[in-house]
């Protein structure tokens, strides 16, 4: 249950840190990419729009030049001059050498009859009166046809101008070389996917597109989408993905010049940027995740250790609190018992005294009385001893400070118990450090502690064994350890050893107060007393006595 608490905490911290740190990163990355992509796209659109406009203007200029040329020739010659085949041929070659791009040239009278022709086809004498463009050129003066196959079965378009000569009107008609015209348009095709072509109002190709069909076939563009200015539209195209189309209406014929570009190609720079950004962000995420997980684990582990330490300290504190409370209670109980005990003992003594009197001597059960009284007396004595120990007057007193040599005190105590140990075949070995300082302490109380611990050790071994007594000094404490090779203290009893009246000895042998008193003495001195079970067998009691140097005299 405890563990899951830490795992939960760890999970929560990791989650929160990750959300808080990753969310802005991803958001920032996304926003920057989005903004950048928008700007990039704007730029590309701007570029393609500009290209469309520039190319359209170039085409416009080309057409205008042809029209002007035709107009100039028509206006500076009479019909009779131009119907002269020799003359027309001269003019045609001059026109082609100066401006070029004319396939043929014809003169049509007001009846629609082609009265003169110069070109590779045999078109002389053809009547155009029925052709729709004939009416248009008559009414408007200038006409540019859409591309069509016509008589010659080749895609081409014509420019026709009307000449008003006195009462007579006639028309000069020229076919534009589709190769030259297409080459001009195609010069705007860039990159691997860029295309440039012209469609008429109905969306029919007027020049050969690089992809997507043949000249004079219908394109899939809706020309109504393109406005007066250069317009960019974006369309999904099955295999190519997004395609950008920029269109610009030509001035003279209602033709739309279209420049198209696959978005992917134009966007390839952006894609590289996006990939770099994604890699950076992913690396960043990984770094953050790893750091977060690592740090959190470390943190939670530290926390766990600290908690464990605090718990151990709390347990120890609670234990000593419990001992202190037990001590207080014990003392007050003992005190309350002591008062009636004083009286009871006197009363028993008095009965004993009275049994000595003459008349009672004759009583039948005199011996029984005497035995009973002495039994009561014996057990009262036990109570008295317990109460004495509980109230332990020695430890009720403030410790009397005198110069104490711990090694000396240990030796004296061992002397006291040597006989007892020898009878039970127990060897006492000492390893006393020579640098243990003389301290100011209460020798009687220390002796009591050592006496308790050593006699406990003897009792624990009971027969045949070894007790090792060691003293050494640290900076702040003198540490005395008393180890026996007895059976050790069973786990379930370890918590209780310092409690009053806890004993494993027979009733008459121990009151269970020795360790409790020792604990209390050490506590009052500012020292500690601890024990641990030795690996194998036996237990070790460790007494730490604070070093307080005696005042110099």
């Amino acid at each position: 249950m405890k563990t899951s608490l830490y795992i939960n905490l760890q999970r929560k911290i990791i989650l929160i840190v990750l959300v808080v740190s990753l969310a802005p990163l991803i958001l920032l990355g996304g926003t920057i990419y989005y903004q950048f992509a928008g700007m990039y796209k704007d730029k590309i659109e701007e570029q393609i729009r500009y290209r469309a406009k520039a190319q359209a203007e170039a085409v416009d200029v080309f057409l205008k030049e042809r029209i002007t040329l035709l107009n100039t020739v028509a206006c500076t010659h009479t019909l009779s001059e131009l119907t002269d085949e020799q003359h027309l041929s001269e003019i045609f070659s001059v026109m082609n050498s100066k401006g070029g791009a004319f396939v043929d040239l014809g003169i049509i009278n007001n009846n629609g009859q082609q009265v003169a022709y110069m070109g590779p086809y045999d078109l002389l004498g053809l009547n155009y009166y029925q052709q729709p463009w004939f009416g248009e050129v008559v009414s408007k003066g200038i006409y540019i046809s859409d591309v069509y196959f016509g008589y010659r079965q080749l895609p081409h378009f014509i420019i026709a101008v009307l000449r008003q000569e006195n009462q007579n009107t006639w028309i000069m008609r020229a076919t534009i070389d589709p190769d030259v015209f297409c080459a001009i348009v195609r010069s705007a095709q860039v990159g691997k996917t860029g295309d440039a072509y012209i469609v008429n109002k109905a969306g029919v190709y007027q020049t050969q597109p690089r992809f997507d069909g043949e000249i004079l076939s219908k394109s899939h563009l809706d020309t109504a989408l393109f406005g007066r200015e250069a317009t960019v539209i974006e369309q999904k195209d099955g295999q190519k993905g997004e395609v950008l189309y920029a269109g610009y209406w030509l001035k003279t014929p209602r033709w739309l010049l279209v420049i198209s570009q696959e978005a992917a190609e134009e966007m390839s720079g952006l894609l590289v940027t996006r990939n770099v950004e994604i890699v950076i962000i992913v690396l960043g995420l990984l770094a953050i995740i790893m750091t977060t997980v690592f740090m959190t684990r470390l943190f939670v582990r530290r926390l766990k250790e600290a908690d464990n330490k605090i718990n151990a300290m709390n347990a120890q504190l609670m234990h000593s609190d419990k001992l202190a409370a037990l001590g207080k209670m014990g003392a007050s109980v003992a005190h309350e018992i002591n008062n009636p005990l004083v009286v009871v003992m006197q009363k028993i003594g008095w009965m004993e005294d009275l049994l000595e009197e003459e008349d009672i001597q004759k009583t039948k059960n005199l011996e029984e009385y005497k035995i009973t009284i002495s039994k009561i007396d014996h057990h009262l004595d036990r109570i008295r001893k317990v109460v004495h120990n509980m109230l332990g007057y020695a430890r009720r007193m403030e410790p009397r400070l005198e110069k104490v040599d711990i090694n000396e005190t240990l030796n004296q105590t061992i002397d006291l118990l040597e006989n007892y140990a020898r009878i039970n075949n127990i060897d006492i070995q000492t390893d006393l450090a020579s640098d243990v300082p003389i301290i100011a302490n209460d020798q009687a109380q220390l002796q009591q502690v050592f006496l308790n611990l050593i006699s406990n050790a003897i009792d624990a071994i009971s027969k045949d064994g070894l007790i090792e007594i060691e003293s050494r000094s640290t900076d702040s404490h003198i540490v005395v350890t008393i180890s026996d090779d007895g059976p050790g203290i069973p786990k379930d009893q370890q918590k209780k050893v310092f409690e009053p009246f806890f004993t494993t000895k027979e009733t008459e042998k121990g009151t269970g107060l020795g360790l409790w008193i020792s604990y209390d003495i050490m506590e009052k001195m500012g020292g500690t007393i601890m024990f641990e079970n030795k690996e194998g067998k036996g237990s070790t009691f460790t007494v730490k006595i604070p070093i307080v140097l005696p005042e110099k005299e």
Partner: protein
């Protein structure tokens, strides 16, 4: 003829009564009182060799105050203090104030008697000195 006289001062009536009875049975001239005030009153009337005085007597005079007064009225009476465990320090102070010794409650008569005997001996020695001094003095006048 009683050996010597003992005054027992303690607020526990049962204890005083029994102890006095037991002492009397041993042909000791024992008297018990239940408070320091009573003890001083009695000491004003007659002499005692040894006073057994409880240190802790709730209400009225406590043992130490009583001891001081006793030493004023009968400086030669030896005082043995009775003490509970909580008042060992007071008994040390009492001894500084002239008490002969102290015993821990609950007492056994066997433990108490040697101390009483010592106290009496001390007083006796003292009295003899006084007597011989008096004799010397009367001899001088003589």
């Amino acid at each position: 003829m009683e050996l010597f006289s003992i005054l027992v001062v303690d607020d526990e009536e049962d204890f005083v009564e029994t102890l006095v009875n037991r002492l009397k049975k041993r042909t000791i001239d024992a008297v018990g009182v239940l408070s320091g005030e009573d003890a001083l009153e009695l000491l004003g009337k007659r002499e005692f060799d040894v006073v057994i005085l409880d240190i802790k007597m709730p209400g009225g005079m406590d043992g130490i105050e009583t001891l001081k007064e006793i030493k004023k009225i009968q400086p030669l009476a030896e005082v043995i203090l009775l003490t509970g465990h909580a008042s060992v320090e007071s008994s040390i102070e009492g001894m500084r104030l002239g008490a002969f010794d102290y015993v821990l409650k609950p007492i056994k008569l066997e433990e108490l008697f040697p101390k009483v005997a010592q106290a009496f001996e001390k007083k006796d020695v003292h009295n003899q000195k006084i007597r011989s001094a008096k004799i010397k003095q009367s001899l001088r006048y003589w």
